[in-house]
């Protein structure tokens, strides 16, 4: 085979190998720290559970069978996906106007605005989450204010609402950045043309701006969705014990129940489900946006 390649690709070979060399470091990094651990996880998920050791090297599909049969599994999977979906939708709705104005801002303002958008990421996730606790807890700032105004306290923490607030806050920058790039690529004259053809601002948005920004919407929503369903710190701190997501359950299965194969199987199963969903989503989107891309 190598000989055949050399013969066919005499001309392109040096260039191709040069390009391959450039991506080699990234590829190595991914292989060692991402692919190999995943392969390891995949292996463990087929090993047998044991009470004396993390696992016994006897292949079995029992872990998956148990998971698939347990309605609790599917309940947690469903709630995780649902939390991810709501987070994504809220992030999208909140981020779009920000991204639009960022994309259309004068160049000298753009840098500053960009820094402001990214600034939540400059604070570590733990510190930021504790910040939210101060604001959201039953005796927190917001509830103190509500009480001061003579209103009832709102349950903002240790429930899905708390987790949602925390997640949306962290992921908005990712969404904004994805959308901004895409919106920037839309010629403002297209919007002017639509207006002059009789479309109001609202219809111009839905008929021209939004369809043309779909590549950015796709990137942003996938990014936020995947990050949201795999997040651990925020749902566990702000959701308390009432919000049980797949990552939390996987960690508990492994660290508290010492069921390595069971936890691994759950992680792999969820990975597969996520992959399938993203693939499906992209297919649907690409069908809509085909003329653009």
């Amino acid at each position: 085979m190598p000989a055949a390649i050399e013969v066919v690709g005499v001309r392109t070979a040096p260039r191709a190998s040069g390009q391959a060399l450039l991506i080699a470091p990234a590829l190595c990094l991914m292989l060692i720290f991402f692919v190999l651990p995943y392969v390891n996880l995949l292996l463990i998920s087929f090993f047998t559970q044991s009470h004396q050791a993390p696992y016994v090297r006897v292949l079995t599909v029992a872990n998956y069978e148990r998971l698939a049969r347990d309605p609790f599994t599917w309940g947690v999977v469903w709630r995780t996906l649902w939390l991810g979906a709501i987070t994504t939708v809220i992030s999208l709705v909140l981020s779009y106007p920000v991204a639009y104005h960022l994309a259309r801002a004068p160049r000298r303002w753009k840098g500053l605005l960009m820094i402001l958008v990214v600034s939540p990421l400059l604070v570590g996730v733990l510190i930021r989450t504790y910040g939210w606790i101060i604001l959201l807890q039953d005796t927190g700032l917001i509830n103190q204010m509500l009480q001061g105004l003579g209103m009832k306290r709102l349950p903002l923490m240790y429930n899905q609402t708390g987790a949602l607030i925390g997640l949306v806050h962290v992921f908005i920058p990712f969404m904004v950045l994805s959308l901004t790039g895409s919106i920037q690529g839309i010629d403002p004259e297209l919007e002017m043309e639509a207006r002059s053809l009789g479309a109001g601002a609202w219809r111009t948005f839905w008929r021209v701006t939004f369809p043309l920004s779909l590549p950015g919407v796709a990137a942003g929503t996938i990014l936020v969705f995947v990050l949201a369903i795999s997040s651990y710190v925020i749902p566990s701190l702000l959701g308390g014990f009432t919000v049980l997501t797949v990552p939390i359950l996987v960690v508990r299965t492994i660290t508290e129940l010492f069921n390595w194969p069971g936890g691994s199987a759950f992680a792999i199963l969820f990975f597969a489900i996520t992959l399938a969903l993203v693939w499906l989503y992209l297919r649907v989107l690409s069908r809509i946006t085909r003329p653009v891309v």
């Binding site: 297209l190 002017m192 043309e193 639509a194 002059s196 053809l197």
Partner: protein, 360 residues
């Protein structure tokens, strides 16, 4: 069909005035070119008419309707941009149908009118293509069809031919003119290309640094410019500073560094005033060293050819006549003069046009 009327239109960005006190009225069905160098405020003017910029002062009237405060979608301006602004996610048919859909026209009527207009602009059969599958000329035609199909009250064109190659540009000029005639639609055509403006327009409005310099027929703008800036901007010209020493009727005599010259000029140019003489290179006649005495009213200068460039249909000479800079002369390929030849230059008093004031 309505006319466009701009009254004292001013647009300031910070302290800089992009457009200053512009008053301009286009008659119904008239094609007016708004001509000026880049950054002169043409596009800002167009955008104020279309409703994308709010004037700092002044009014915009379309027909007898004051639209200064109206949003763009309520103005019924057909627009064609320099890069056509075709919706990339829509087919040619969908692009052209867009405006009609916004008006709530019935589907079968839309289909009929789209087909009609596409035939008219020579795009029949391309309705299923996407913009990126079209050539530049076809994109241009699509943009025109899309703007015209909604029966706009006025048509606004922003450098519509700037992205086409020279040959296609030439062809599209005539196409646009015939289209505008056929639809009898009042059209403002923004361009920096003076040849385009002169060929296309019924009247040309010359805008320089946000100030309307002249609004007149192409011929008048070219032959009887009102300001030195117009003379210098439109076409090639030789500018010779001087002072008016005598005047009778529309003829006058200018005292210049290369001697007294007979010329013509506007009525407000009086004796004793500073003036600038503009002579187009094609109005200077080049002759041998020893010519018979000139007719009455013809200027005669002696000079030496410093440079000669072949332009295909004619030669471009730079002739030193003793002034500050050599004069440019363009002439036929019959009588050829060599560099360093001593020559005479002559021009009729009617061909020299004096303008009030010096440079600027």
């Amino acid at each position: 069909m309505a006319e466009i009327s701009l009254r004292g239109l001013t647009k300031r960005f910070g302290n800089a005035a992009a457009v200053h006190d512009l008053t301009l009225t286009l008659a119904s069905g008239e094609l007016v070119a708004l001509l000026g160098p880049s950054g002169c405020g043409k596009t800002t003017t167009l955008r104020m008419i279309a409703g994308f910029e709010t004037p700092t002062q002044g009014r915009v009237l379309l027909g007898d309707r004051d639209v200064t405060e109206a949003p763009p979608e309520k103005r019924s301006c057909g627009m064609v941009f320099q890069n056509y602004a075709l919706f990339p996610h829509l087919t040619v048919r969908q692009n052209v149908a867009f405006g009609l859909e916004m008006q709530g026209v019935r589907r079968d009527v839309i289909d009929r009118r789209v087909i009609e207009i596409l035939e008219k602009v020579g795009l029949g059969g391309l309705n299923k293509r996407y913009p990126r599958q079209l050539s530049g000329g076809q994109q241009q035609r699509t943009a025109l069809a899309r703007a015209l199909v909604i029966n706009p009250s006025v048509l606004l064109l922003d450098e519509p031919l700037a992205n086409l190659d020279a040959k296609l540009r030439e062809e599209m000029r005539f196409f646009i003119r015939s289209l505008v005639r056929e639809f009898h639609i009042t059209t403002l055509y923004v361009t920096h290309d003076q040849a385009e403006a002169l060929v296309l327009a019924d009247r040309v409005a010359v805008l320089i640094d946000g100030v309307l310099q002249q609004f007149d027929t192409p011929e008048a703008v070219y032959r009887r410019p009102r300001t030195v800036r117009v003379a210098a901007f439109i076409g090639l010209t030789n500018l010779i500073p001087g002072r008016v020493t005598a005047r009778s009727g529309d003829r006058l005599v200018l005292e210049t560094s290369i001697g007294p010259l007979r010329a013509s000029g506007p009525a407000d140019l009086r004796e004793g005033m500073e003036a600038m003489l503009s002579i187009r290179p094609e109005n200077l006649e080049l002759g041998g060293r020893d010519l018979a005495a000139p007719r009455d009213g013809v200027n005669r200068l002696r000079g030496v050819v410093r440079e000669r460039t072949y332009l295909g249909s004619l030669f471009d000479y730079r002739v030193d006549v003793g002034g500050d800079s050599p004069l440019r002369v363009q002439g036929g390929v019959n009588a050829v003069h060599q560099v360093d030849d001593e020559v005479t230059l002559s021009f009729d008093a009617a061909a020299g046009w004096a303008l009030p004031g010096g440079w600027g």
